[in-house]
């Protein structure tokens, strides 16, 4: 009886997401099995390729739970990569200095956005859109050239292989190939775990849900709504900066056009993962699956080899549209039941 009561529309969205991922992956294994899609390593490659996106999506989920949105993340990741690359190559910073600078930039960015949105009460979309163009423009102000990262320490961090003790296979020459992950995946999974704990078991996490669910009642309950919102945007930009560092470890470059459209992928992943656009509902486990779904779409397009790369962004948009409509229908049904 109690189980039935818990199984509402929101849980249903999460179940749909997980089922969709499994089905999609199974189809991929059947169609592209001969090209090596069914190997455990290609699953891990999806994780490695999307480690940055996982962090960014965690931050996005927190903001969306409060009922807001942050579309500056893609540009901020681009700016982070640019600062890392330019700082280490042209200004000869050490890797640790560059990383710290990037994290500070992320926090400052978040404080400014959070102040404007939370304290002054301006629409989040307008402010973060201004942030989007600001960060992208700042990339160009730093330099319009492409900068490659050649810093030894940073390269060492990026190329560490962590072999897993299971899931390996023996290749044609008879050598055992252990599946591996990179350090980026470990960091991303730690971020997911920490965000999960933060949202589930801390006062701040619960107040995020309260603010998103109903701002007025949260206020009447004695919560500081303005500060909670501001903190959510700071958290988002901070996690986004961590994501930017991971992204740079993958790409090893900084350029103006980097991570364009990442905000769309992050929002799509969070929405696919069951986070409601109206706020109050969402969890990072769903978002993780959302990222895996978008990652799988990218991987499928790559494995096909013939399709244009624009197909993957069309597929993600279609999925996003599908889930938005699904959410809207759930909301309409809920409204009708109330009335």
């Amino acid at each position: 009886m109690k189980k039935k009561a818990n199984f509402n529309g929101n849980n249903l969205l999460l179940v749909i997401t997980i089922v969709l991922f499994v089905v999609m992956y199974a189809i991929g294994c059947i169609v592209y099995g001969s090209k090596g899609f069914s190997q455990f390593q290609s699953f891990l490659n999806i994780l490695i390729g999307n480690a940055g996106l996982i962090c960014v999506t965690c931050g996005m989920t927190c903001v969306m739970i409060t009922g807001g949105i942050d579309i500056s993340v893609g540009s901020l990741v681009g700016l982070d990569c640019m600062i890392l690359a330019y700082g280490m190559e042209k200004l000869h910073w050490s890797a640790i200095t560059a990383v710290i600078v990037v994290l500070i930039v992320g926090i400052v960015f978040g404080v400014v956005q959070g102040f404007l949105i939370g304290i002054l009460g301006i629409q989040p979309f307008i402010i973060t859109m201004a942030g989007l163009f600001f960060a992208r423009g700042m990339c160009a102000v730093i330099t319009t050239e492409m900068v490659n990262v050649a810093n030894e320490t940073f390269k060492k961090w990026a190329t560490i292989k962590i072999n897993l003790p299971f899931g390996g296979y023996v290749n044609r020459r008879g050598i055992y190939m252990a599946p591996y992950i990179r350090i980026t995946v470990v960091i991303a999974l730690i971020v997911v775990a920490l965000t999960f704990i933060l949202l589930k078991f801390t006062k701040f996490g619960r107040s995020l849900y309260a603010v998103g669910g109903n701002e007025t009642s949260a206020k009447l309950m004695g919560l500081n709504v303005k500060m909670t919102k501001m903190k959510a945007y700071i958290l988002s930009s901070f996690l986004c900066s961590i994501g930017g560092i991971l992204f740079c470890m993958n790409s090893m470059t900084g350029s103006v056009a980097q991570a364009k459209g990442l905000e769309m992928e992050a929002i799509a992943s969070a929405v696919i993962g069951g986070t409601l656009l109206t706020g109050g509902v969402g969890n990072v486990i769903g978002s993780l699956f959302g990222v895996l779904i978008t990652g799988t779409i990218d991987a499928l397009v790559q494995f096909n080899g013939k399709l244009l790369s624009s197909w993957s962004s069309i597929a993600v948009s279609v999925l996003l549209c599908f889930f938005i409509i699904l959410q809207a229908i759930f909301a309409l049904i809920k409204e009708r039941n109330k009335a």
Binding site: G131, A140, T278, S310
Partner: protein, 363 residues
């Protein structure tokens, strides 16, 4: 005595007018330019066409002005912006060019269909995109910006698919008319065509809003959706219509932009135009929270943006760097508009008045 009172009311009327702030902004930008280079205001005739910085601004600003019409309506009716307009422009341009020369043709000297069919296809695609956005926002009640986010990414990608991932060139003299200068026989019109297109669009929109009750309905729905519904206004339909108009405007702007470079460059047409259009509406003194709107303000805002862009480029700022300045401007405008800041200013004014009153009483 009465004269000074009259002057007071005149100044108040002037400063209270909705288009006052945008006009001041435009004036300031032009003033900076004139100080920088006195030749700014010069208009000369080269090869039978008008030539000058002001003409250039009016010409290049046409697309933003056309987009600003649709954007003003969507902001007024739903307090949300349509961020897909730039991408929709690219899609419309691709559809237009591909219809004219056929799928997969990179460059053509011959057309499959007359030009007006291509233009109509382009505008029609824009309207379809508008219908999609409108359906999501009006019927399914999705937040406008999230609903339009779908096309923001998808439209450009579909545009690339339609034009087979390449720039489709239409090397036919007549196709350039829409974006450049009209030639009839030997006579060449000295004024760039986009200016005419913008004027026609603005005139049509004004006629439509003033002569029908649509403008009133839009404001009413924007101020209070539920109250309007109870009054008997079909608010779902009104919101839908606004998004379709916005799509139509994007279609027109897309075909003009495509004709300007006589090709469909899906990666670059309409890039960052959504930002310019929103900025134009905000600069025009319209509240981004919906409700009352002024079309004239938005149009002036659009040309101000173009003047600003031209100025920045003239000062040696790179194209990729220009968004920084625009982002700062937009943040400043919304901060001034923010309720918290408005209340603060009001309180300070009230305190000043009460302090002044106290002094007067003491005297």
């Amino acid at each position: 005595m009465s004269k000074s009172a009259n002057g007071d009311s005149f100044i108040k009327k002037l400063t209270g007018s909705k288009v006052f702030l945008p006009l001041v902004c435009l004036f300031l930008v032009i003033l900076i330019n004139v100080i920088k280079s006195p030749s700014f205001l010069q208009i000369s005739i080269n090869n039978g066409v008008l030539y000058g910085r002001l003409i250039d601004i009016a010409n290049r600003g046409s697309e933003i002005a056309i987009l600003a019409i649709g954007m003003t309506l969507t902001i007024a009716v739903s307090a949300g912006t349509d961020i897909s307009v730039g991408s929709v422009m690219a899609l419309c341009a691709s559809c237009c060019c591909t219809t004219l020369v056929g799928y997969g043709v990179a460059s053509a000297n011959k057309l499959n269909y007359p030009i007006f069919i291509g233009v109509i296809v382009g505008i029609f695609v824009g309207a379809v995109c508008g219908c999609f956005n409108g359906f999501m926002v009006a019927r399914l009640k999705v937040q406008p910006m999230v609903a339009t986010l779908v096309l923001y990414t998808a439209a450009r990608a579909i545009g690339l698919l339609v034009s087979n991932n390449q720039n489709t060139y239409v090397r036919v003299e007549e196709y350039k008319y829409l974006g450049n200068f009209i030639k009839i026989g030997k006579w060449e019109c000295p004024i760039p065509t986009p200016i005419f297109v913008a004027i026609i669009c603005v005139a049509l929109a004004t006629l439509f809003l003033k002569k029908t009750a649509l403008g009133m309905y839009i404001q009413s729905v924007g101020i209070n959706k539920n109250a309007s519904r109870i009054l008997g206004i079909n608010s779902v339909l009104i919101i839908f219509v606004c998004y379709v108009i916005c799509g139509l405007c994007a279609g027109v702007a897309g075909t003009v932009a495509s004709s300007r470079i006589y090709s469909a460059d899906s990666n670059n047409i309409g890039l960052n135009f959504e930002m310019d259009a929103i900025l134009a509406v905000a600069l025009g003194g319209n509240s981004l929270a919906g409700g009352k709107f002024s079309l004239a303000g938005s149009i002036i805002g659009a040309y101000t943006i173009q003047a600003l862009t031209t100025t920045l480029l003239a000062f040696g700022v790179k194209t990729e760097q220009a968004p920084v300045v625009k982002a700062i401007v937009i943040v400043l405008i919304v901060v001034i508009q923010a309720p918290a800041v408005q209340n603060y200013i009001k309180n300070r004014k009230a305190r000043k008045i009460s302090a002044g009153g106290g002094e007067a009483v003491a005297k």
